[in-house]
Symmetry: C5
Subunit: 247 residues, 5 copies
């Protein structure tokens, strides 16, 4: 998320403004799996979303942006680093139970081989979902979240079958909204300050509220969800940067 230094920008001669916009628009237009949003409120003016296959490519995107002339007028206010996550509670629990029935000891060489093999199969099957295109919707809502680790209410002490059941019920709500909201869930344990990042994409922002409000009452969210900062933005096509920024 970036704040735009309007005051310094306005002092730039129009021709230099035009050149900076053109350079930035060309870079953004040429970036696959990237998008720009006009943020609402004081948390920033522009939000850049980059889906990349590696952190190295992500770092390159970040540096390419920093070298833009336009970036002289952009001040980073926030960011979030995470990886697209597949909800694998169902298949993982099935696998664990299958391995247990076959009396394969957890963390034995055979057990690890089977778990890794399933993960590889899943990642291959779901490769397009692991590196998705940016959904083509007018609005974005992003927020990070944690599972609660309280002194008495602690997600990480709940048996896996219980967690699976709650996640399943939670997923049912999301599925009811599938037409209206495209969700991309990302994992950030080890990468950023919250455990998960949630990206929602919709044509009508009212649906963000409806979905999240309804979810707030389901068991897993009511008991175990903690939420960070919410960001809401409107999609900007590269070609629209000019009309936003020209004064």
């Amino acid at each position: 998320m970036m704040r735009f230094r309007w005051t310094a920008w306005k002092a730039l001669p129009p021709a230099e403004q035009d050149a900076a916009i053109a350079e930035a628009a060309a870079l953004v237009a040429g970036m696959q799996h990237s998008a720009v949003y006009s943020l609402l409120g004081h948390k920033g003016d522009l939000m850049f979303v980059h889906f990349r296959r590696s952190f190295e490519e992500l770092n390159q995107a970040e540096i390419a942006l920093a070298k833009l002339r336009l970036s002289d007028f952009l001040e980073p206010t926030s960011s979030y680093l995470s990886m697209v996550e597949l909800g694998l509670y169902d298949s993982t629990l099935d696998l664990y139970e299958g391995l247990a029935k076959r009396e394969i000891a957890p963390y034995s060489a055979e057990w690890k081989q089977e778990v890794e093999a399933q993960l590889v199969r899943q990642r291959q099957a779901m490769a397009p979902r692991l590196w998705p295109a940016i959904p083509d919707r007018k609005y974005i809502c992003f927020y990070p979240m944690d599972r609660r680790r309280g002194e008495s209410v602690n997600w990480y002490r709940v048996p896996m079958a219980e967690r699976k059941r709650m996640m399943h019920e939670h997923g049912m709500i999301g599925r009811r909204y599938a037409d209206e909201v495209k969700q991309i869930i990302t994992a950030s344990i080890g990468f950023d300050d919250w455990e998960w990042g949630v990206d929602l994409f919709a044509e009508d922002p009212l649906v963000f509220k409806k979905l999240i409000y309804e979810m707030r009452f389901d068991e897993v969210s009511a008991l175990y969800a903690l939420f960070g900062t919410f960001y809401v933005g409107l999609r900007l096509q590269a070609a629209e940067l000019g009309s936003l920024l020209k004064t």
Copy 2:
């Protein structure tokens, strides 16, 4: 909320100050459902309140302001994004009970159709309240709030009938103050960092304290309300910007 850069502003020649004030006053005067307040304390100097029918119109208002000459002297310190909310506990619970009596399964196609239809009817009936004019009172008080989601005291685990009862009692206090305070309650789940935003408008600011102090003891507030930052401001007419800012 914006801080005013007095030092830079004072360095501006009087004619340029006049032009910047005139431009800003014209924009604000021409904006329907917008108002400006002079904030008390260090949290900001000016607060702009915009009620709009869509986030897109809100974004346009924000950008139009940013392009003003006066904005070269305004630094955003905070903001809040939310939607006007109708308190529908009563009618929603009635509807749910009616549907249950008719043995319509929750989330079935028929159930969803009836719920959506009622929502549409209510939104039509209450359209003017969903996009209100800014109440014409001298003082504003704004603060965001959450319903508590503690490890043992958790609003989202309370049965709906209980919540309805507590909200009803809570509403009775507000109603006793209806002549003195105009309340506009907005929902921000999915939009900003708290769940609700409360705007109070009054001629005498003492009534903000009386109302909120009394409410602090009612059951739902005492047990379940968490409060964010409070902002208090005095209404500024567009034509008064000049007398505020001229040095």
Copy 3:
């Protein structure tokens, strides 16, 4: 609270420094019920305290200060907005009990009339205490505080008679220090981010520690008091601004 921009200030020619000091000293000297303090530590260099009869007058004081030449070198770091509060637990409980004995229903027209009438009588009787002069002591200590609203320990769920008893015991400690410390308690529910603001004035700052340390063990403070940031300052007469700031 204001930080003083020493570096920029030192770059000002001595004659301009003198003029800025003279203008500021004249404004402050002419303000009744206002005082300036030299703050200790990094939380600010100067603290301005203004007691005013309305928020509008307070806002005018704030803007008059902002327009000073000296304010080009002052950066707001904090502030607190509140109203002087009278401790009325005793008389309020007596009144409520009297009304109950006379079988007047709470919130009935008659009940509200009696409560309001008593409030008006009290405010008239205590008018000088509601708009006090700034006590003429060398040191100030200011801090905001809340009554705890925890999941199990919650002031707003304690019966009024219990609260009255605890507040009475609490008040006894304050009374024992009355000669050494002048206390002005202000209420900020609905105005700022904590519920109360406490101003202590003394000739010897050691007494701030003695009073607050002793109070920390009384029941109401030990169980229910939460404290914000503490500010300690030395009174500056308007005429002393020059010796503080001249380099």
Copy 4:
């Protein structure tokens, strides 16, 4: 604690750098009971420690520093205001018990007189410890702390004899480290945002970790201690300022 503005400083002509260093070194060298430390990490570059007999003298030290030419390159990042504290649990409890045996009512005129007299005797006896010289050790470690006031674990609800016992055990650990670490405990209730400030001085910083780690398991620390920010610095003699800052 101060951040040093290296970039602006480097732009200063060498002769002006020399003059600024000489002026600052002379002031610091002439200040009794003051010391400068080079801080590790981003929390600041220099830490100034001033022990003074009154807040007024402390304020004068602060302002004298602010008026230095070198201070144009110093930006305050933090500070802590407190008074040297004597651990008087033992003698206070003995006194209280003695007064109780003599049937002198708490807070009676006689009781207050005896308590105040003992305090005066102790302060006289310990005057050098109340206004100590800065220990001449290579490293400093400073941190503020609180006694916990939780909903169920609350220091201020523990009987005095229990507190005395725990403090005594706590003190025994400190005494075992007395050769390696010089401790100066200061009280800041009523002065700053934590209740206590701890200054440790040692030749080998490893001992800070050993002492504090061992203490973390003793009863009073494990249950009741809450810690703020830690600052670690290396002592700088006034004459060493030049070699630190010259580029």
Copy 5:
């Protein structure tokens, strides 16, 4: 961690950029046990990691960097100060039990001598691990952490044998990842604001998530671990600074 001031940097003539890069690259290349990383996200652009044998050497590294021309464009955003820690639960508990069997009283002169002697033996045996080279992996992940000191769940009240058992189980997970992740655990009690600092080094950053996610469910982490800010960076060789920064 440092933010890079791109805007000011870009204004520097290319020859001065080259000279600044060459000077910085030479310093970094000449520093043993130091490394530079390109950070992902807004928390900083560059992370410098320095392993040193003393805080004095660390302070010298910090000051040498500050005096670089390149540092005019680097703004510190964060830092962490800690010492490499050896996990000595096993040997310490064995030693304590051995001393207890020999009826040597805890903290007696003999007891302290034996404990100190074992510590010295261990530090000698493990000297290379106490002052390690920076692992030569592409990615780094750093985060600080605490052991929980809650009102009911408190690590520092758990018997040592229990802690040893949990730490052993925790260590088994780390060992399973030993090929993929090099871990360096550092202790910061008494040095910085968290109790521990964790550095992970890997060729594939996905393994950071796998390791930390799996650990989050083990008993000691699930119940007692609290996590601070996460930083993820890509290793930069000194010679690569130019290609990163040249515009």
